[in-house]
Symmetry: D2
Subunit: 343 residues, 4 copies
C-alpha cells in the first residue's frame, strides 16, 4: 500500500483527492492536514465522506508527514508547498504539488507572476512538470512533480499535436477558455457567490492570467520556436468543467483527425472524438478524461480545437493521482476509472 | 419630489431599492451611504446602474441625512438602524427600516433572538409593522416603519385570511418555506458560494430561525388566540424567490377560494390565483406581487396555501417603497408596476 | 457473472443503471434495448460511456432477452413492463422493474391512478416491493421486484421508525417533498426546459400525485392502522436530488435519535446523522445513500424528519442494483460504494 | 397611440415583446396571435402578465391584423413572416420581423442556409436591416425592418468601429460567442432541458451557423473589403445573455478606447466601458443595453473586444421596439429604460 498524505485538505482539490484516493485499491490515506480545522473529522466537513473515511485533520508538520507517508500531495494555495517540500524530500518522501509553486522553471518568471521570491529555487530544475502526455517517463523517476494548472492542461493537450509537428503558426495562437466556478477554490469571496456568478457570464484576467506563462512554457517546449498566445479565461455559471476553444492558423496540409488520433493512441485519458464532434464538459464531469475534437470549418486555414476536462480531476486531483500511479509503478489508470455522472 | 436616502447601499436590498427608486417618478435619490465604499461611484459597484445614477457612496451621518432627505431607508444588517433612527426622527426625517431592528414589539424577545439589548426600546411601540395588507392606515401616519422580513411576508399573507376568520386551528400551523440564496445577503461566505449552494437543497435553522417570533407575533395579532407554528426554512439553488407551502387544519366549512379573493380584493400586490393553481416563483421575479393559491386536497381537513414572492421586492425593497408611497400620499403602486422578467 | 439486460436504456434511469452496472464486478451487461435507437452505439448517445461500454441498442424482444439475461431491468415508462414481464418470468429470467407497474398491490387502485387496466394483475401478489429496508428477506427470494418510486423511497425511509413503533399519530402525516428535475425523465417537454425550470420553484400535483397511493400503501403496511398523509411535491431548479421534509405529531415520549439509529443500524444505505444535522442533497449525489436527520423543535409535539436521496440512485437505479445484489446472493453494497461528488 | 400586433406570441421573444410594449407609454397592444393557443388568455400562459394584459390569442389573419394594427411584429420561426408580410404591407401596415426571413439581402444565400426558396424575394431589397447603430436613418423611413439575430447584434456592434476605420485585418476575424439557452426558443427539445443544458458547456454549429452569413454581410458592408470570420457559438448554462469575445489583428496604431467612445457617443444603447473593464452579461439582463470593452493585452497586435447583450432584448425584442420607436417618430429610448435586475 502507498501511504499518502494530503496537505491542505479543506479545499476542493483536497476533497476531490480524498474521493479518488479512498477508491484507489493500493492507497492508504495516512494523514490529512489543515491549520484551521485541526481535530475536526474530515467527514464532518464533507458529509459525502461519512462512512468512507475516519480521519481527522492534523497540523501540517513535515517530520510527521515524512514518517507517515510515502507521498505527500499539496492541495494548498500557492506559496505553501515551496516552504515544506525540501524537508519532505530530505526524508525521502515524494511530493506531488497541485499548486503553482514548481510549475514554472524560471524563478524570475515565477516571482513576476506570483509576487514574491521563490523559496526553493534550487528545486525548480528537478521538479517534473506533471503532464503525463508529455513527460510520462520523467514522471516515473521523479521525486517532485508539479501538477499543471487546470487551464494549462486543457489548452496544452489541445495544441500539442499541432505544435509538435509544426502544423500551425506558433506565433498566432488563441485560447478562449471557460471554466466552472470551482476553479476559484473553496474560499469565501463575493465574486463566486451563487448570487454573483450564476445566471452570469464574463471574461476575467484579460490583461494577464497566471496560467499564461505556464501554458507558453509548455507549448514552447514542444514547438521549439517562440510561441505567441492570446489567452482569455471566462467564468461559466456552473460548478465543474473547463472548455477550451483553441484557434490556430494552418501552415501545411495534413489529415488533422489522424494526427490527433495517433498522437493520443496510447494516452488512456485523452479521448479524440470522431470528426464533427463537439464535446460537452459534462461528459467528463467527475472523471479524469480529456475529450478533444478538431475542426477545420470550410476547409479553410483556421483550425479549431475543442478540449474539455473536469478542472478538479484531469485539471487537478485526478492528474495528481495519475502522476502518483506513474511514480509508484501502478497501472496509470488505477483508481481513475469512474464514469462521468450524467445527468 | 420625495428626497430619499439609503443607509447601507451595497447589499442586495440596497441595489434593489436603487433600481426601484430610480424608476419612481416622484422620488429623488438624495444620498446613499456605505462605510466601506465612501467615494466609490454607485455604478462602479453595480454596472447595471451605469447611465441611470450618478451618485457616490458617502459616510452614514445622521445630521447630513436628515438635512438632505425626507425619508431614509435602512438596508443594513441588524443593529445599525436602532442606533441612528432616533437622531433622524428628532429632525423630522421619516424612516423605513428594512432590517429587523423594529419588527418585534417586545425588547426582551428582540434581545433573545438577536443577542444584544435593543438600543432604542422606547421606539418599539411607535414603530409600525410595514405589512400594508394589515396596517395600511397606520403606515400612512407612521414616522417609523419596520419592514417585515422576507419569510414573514410570504407566510403571513398566506395564513392571514384563515386566521382572521378563525377557519383553522391556530395551534397547529406548519410553514415549509423555501428561499433563493439572495436572502442571505451580499457578503462573502462559504455556504452561499455557487459551488456550495447550486445543485443542492437543504433545510436550515430547523431548531429556530429569527423570523419565527416575527411571524408568530404577526399571526397572533390577527388570530387573537395563541399561535403554534412549526417553521422550516430551506435554501433553493437560485437567486431570487420565496415559496411558502403552508399547512393548516380546517375547523369549519367555508368557501376558501372566496375567502381569499375577498380578503385581498383591494390589495394591489396580492394576487389570488384561480382554483387549482400552483404559483411559480419566477412569476413574481423582480416584481412586488405576492401570488397565492389555496388548496384542499380530497376535500379533507388539511388546507394548503402556496405563496410566492420575490424576497428582494415584496420581501424587502419593493415593500419598503410601497410603505413609502403610503407614508407620503403617493399612489400605493407608484414605481412598482414593472413586470416579472420571464424567462 | 450475472448477465443483465436493460429494457428502455435511453432514459435517465437507464444511463444511471449503465453507470452502476459497468462498475459492478460481477455483472456483465448482456443487452440494452430501445425501440427508437436500435443500432445506435450506447456511447454515441451518452458520451460519458465512451471507452466503458461497446454495446448497441437492440429491439426489446422478450425471448432474446430471456436467453441472454439472468435478470432484466425495466427502465421504461409505466405500462411497458407489465406487457413483457410474464414472458420473461416464464423463461426463468428474473425481473427488476423500475417503473410503477408492480408497485401497487391492488389492480383497482393501479387503474385509478394510471388510467388503464393492469395487464398482468395476477402477478401483483407475487411482486415484491423493492425497499430492502423493509423487505430484505422477501427480495432475496423474489422473481419479480417492483422498485419503489423516488419520492416513496425518501418519504418511507423517513417515516418508518416513527410508524413501526406507533410513536406518532398516523392520521396526520405531512410530507413536503422536493425533487430535482431529472425525476421528470429524459423527454422533450416545455416544463422541464432550462429556461422554464431554472431560477424557479413551484409545487405540482397538489391535488394528487401518483406516488401518494404508493406511499400510503407502504406506510399502512408498517403502521397497521390507517394512514392519513398530505403529500406536496415541488420542483427544485437542479438536476438530481430529493429532499423530503416530514412532519408528524408525537403521541408518546421517546429518544427519537436512538430510535432512528437502532432502526437503521444494519442498513448499509441509510445514514442517520447526528442530532441537529440538516442533510444536503449533494451529500448523496451520485450515491445510493439516504441520509436522515430527526428534529423536535423546542421539545414540542411536532417531529420533523429530513430525508435526502439521489432520485436516480437510491430513488431508482441504485436501489435496483441493491435489489439485484440481494436476489443474486451478492454483497448488498456490491458496485454501490462510489462516493458523492462534491462540489 | 401606436396600435401593435404580434404574430407568434407564445415564444420567448413574444413574451418579451409583451413585457416591453405593456410598459411603453405610446403603444396599445391590439392583437396577439398563436395558431396553437387561439382563445387562451395570454396571462394564463404567462402568469407574470396577470393584471397587466387582458388579451387572448387569436388566429394569425393578415387582413384583420392590417385593420387593427399600425405595425405588426413577427416573433415567429423562420419562414412564417415571408408568407404574410406582402399582405400587410399592401394594406399599409408596417412590419418588424424578428425572424431571419428578411435579414439576408441575397435570396440565393438565404435559400442555402434556410433550406427552402424565399417566398418574397422582391421585398429583400426594400427590407431595412434593423441595427440602428448603422441604419438609423433608413429605419426611420422603413416599411419593413428585419431585426438582426442575437449573435449578429453582439458581434457587429463589437467589430464595427474597428472595421469602419480599417484598423484591423478584415480577413482574420474570430468571434467566440456564448449564449444563454433562451436563444434556442420556447419549444420542447431534449438538448435544452435543464438536465441536459445546466452544469454543462459546449460549442455547437462549429461547421456553420445560420448567423455566420448574416454577420459577414453586415461586416462586409462597413469594411468595404472581403471579410474572413471564424464564428464559434457556445451554449451557456443560464437563461439569458450573450457574451461575444472578439479577436482581431491590428494593422495600424490608434487609441482604441477613443475610437469606441466616439463611435458610440450618440448611441443610447451602446455603453463603452472604461479601459480594463470586463462586462458581465447580468449587467444587461432584461435591458436593451449592449456593453463593450476593448483590450489590447501587452500592447500587442491582437485586439480583444468583449461585448455583452441580453439576447432577448437588444438581441431581439428590445431592438424591435427600438426600431419601432424610430419608425414612428418616438424617442429612441421610449419604453426601453428599465434597469437590469441584479442580482
Amino acid at each position: 500500500m502507498i501511504r499518502a498524505g494530503i496537505v491542505g485538505g479543506t479545499g476542493y482539490t483536497g476533497v476531490e483527492l480524498l474521493r479518488l484516493l479512498i477508491n484507489h485499491p493500493n492507497v492508504e490515506i495516512a494523514a490529512i492536514t489543515s491549520r484551521t480545522e485541526v481535530g475536526t473529522a474530515v467527514s464532518e466537513l464533507f458529509p459525502n465522506l461519512r462512512g468512507h473515511l475516519e480521519l481527522h485533520f492534523t497540523e501540517p508538520e513535515p517530520t510527521h508527514l515524512a514518517d507517515e507517508c510515502d507521498v505527500v500531495f499539496f492541495a494548498t494555495p500557492h506559496g505553501v508547498a515551496m516552504d515544506m517540500v525540501p524537508a519532505l524530500l530530505a526524508r525521502d518522501t515524494r511530493v506531488i504539488d497541485l499548486s503553482a509553486d514548481f510549475r514554472l522553471s524560471d524563478p524570475v518568471v515565477w516571482e513576476r507572476w506570483y509576487g514574491r521570491p521563490h523559496a526553493a529555487p534550487n528545486l525548480l530544475a528537478e521538479a517534473v512538470y506533471g503532464l503525463p502526455e508529455i513527460n510520462r517517463e520523467a514522471i516515473r523517476q521523479a521525486r517532485l512533480v508539479a501538477c499543471p494548472g487546470c487551464y494549462p492542461t486543457a489548452v496544452q493537450l489541445g495544441f500539442l499535436p499541432l505544435l509538435e509537428q509544426q502544423l500551425v503558426d506558433p506565433g498566432r495562437l488563441i485560447a478562449d477558455a471557460k471554466s466552472g466556478v470551482s476553479g476559484a477554490g473553496r474560499k469565501a469571496s463575493l465574486g463566486t457567490l451563487l448570487c454573483e456568478a450564476s445566471e452570469n457570464f464574463k471574461a476575467y484576467g484579460v490583461s494577464g492570467h497566471r496560467h499564461l506563462p505556464e501554458i507558453i512554457q509548455g507549448l514552447h517546449q514542444v514547438s521549439q520556436t517562440p510561441v505567441g498566445l492570446t489567452f482569455v479565461p471566462h467564468l461559466i455559471p456552473m460548478i465543474r468543467g473547463i472548455h477550451a476553444t483553441l484557434y490556430a492558423q494552418l501552415q501545411q496540409e495534413t489529415d488533422l483527425q489522424a494526427v490527433y488520433e495517433q498522437r493520443y493512441a496510447t494516452a488512456p485519458f485523452v479521448d479524440v472524438l470522431p470528426p464533427g464532434s463537439q464535446p460537452e464538459t459534462r461528459s467528463v464531469r467527475g472523471s479524469n478524461m480529456c475529450r478533444l475534437a478538431v475542426h477545420r470549418p470550410s476547409a479553410g486555414n483556421t483550425v479549431i480545437v475543442l478540449s474539455v476536462t473536469d478542472n478538479l480531476v484531469k485539471g487537478a486531483s485526478g492528474q495528481a493521482v495519475q502522476n502518483m500511479n506513474l511514480m509508484f509503478g501502478q497501472e496509470e489508470t488505477c483508481g481513475l476509472t469512474s464514469i462521468a455522472v450524467i445527468p
